[in-house]
Symmetry: C3
């Protein structure tokens, strides 16, 4: 059903802007992602070991291909300090053809 | 095609941060969601009763399971002051396995 | 598989708030979108002509129907100053029925 050329959004959060920038640079420099957006801080509310907790985080939105998705998830898990960092993948079902082609050219490279 | 164990994003907006925090706490405390992100204010532009309107809103992004999706939509509609609040669901097609399992454990509980 | 009545998110970025507001007004006034959210500035990091670049951008999230998706993409490409603006489409698989119906009524009009 899905192809390595499909575009996906990989969504994560970093505990601070410095790490978020480092993640973005590594992913783009290594050709794992075409573009990374770092958003204004969000307040994350969740239960951890039974208690409701809140944390300020920098949202990270990564544009890449389905073929690179697994490598991006692995790179994020390695770069991220959390035990169980949020990393989810959302499908892209359309858009501007030149932009989608640009993402493929940047991130869908030689599979190296 | 879809399973109660699938992960979804439920996306909404609240008119202010106080209500957004209340919604987040209720959903996490009641085991309806694993994690809720409250973002920096957004400007929403829409037509209402024929006029173009703008409103500052707090974006809410809820991580839960497909099995909890309907209960989350109902809880949001009840907690929200708008006549027709924005509540949409976006699919999650992958991510970090430990994170997806954590969402299922938090939100996919006894179905109570 | 998909119907013109399906709801989609069209996601883009503008180089500044003024243009983002103009895009939002045009899309809502022309009945191409039901609602447009303009977010707090994001930092976009990408490679352009071999160099890693960063740019502050205003994220734009457009709620419309699959039937209007192509017209929205074309309008965005025309209004946007970038050579290859980011325009991607994410599926919506559920939500509050009154809200989804409202999006269809606003954006799924006469197909004009």
């Amino acid at each position: 059903m899905s192809s390595d050329d499909d575009i996906v959004l990989v969504i994560s959060n970093a505990p601070d802007l410095l790490l978020a920038k480092r993640i973005a640079h590594v992913l783009v420099e290594d050709g794992l992602a075409a573009c990374v957006n770092l958003g204004a801080p969000v307040l994350s509310i969740y239960r951890w070991e039974g208690e409701i907790e809140g944390a300020d985080e920098i949202p990270i939105c990564i544009k890449t291909t389905a073929g690179r998705q697994q490598a991006v998830v692995q790179a994020l898990a390695k770069l991220h300090p959390y035990e169980v960092p949020e990393i989810i993948v959302v499908p892209v079902i359309g858009g501007s053809a030149p932009y989608l082609d640009w993402v493929r050219a940047q991130a869908g490279g030689a599979g190296s």
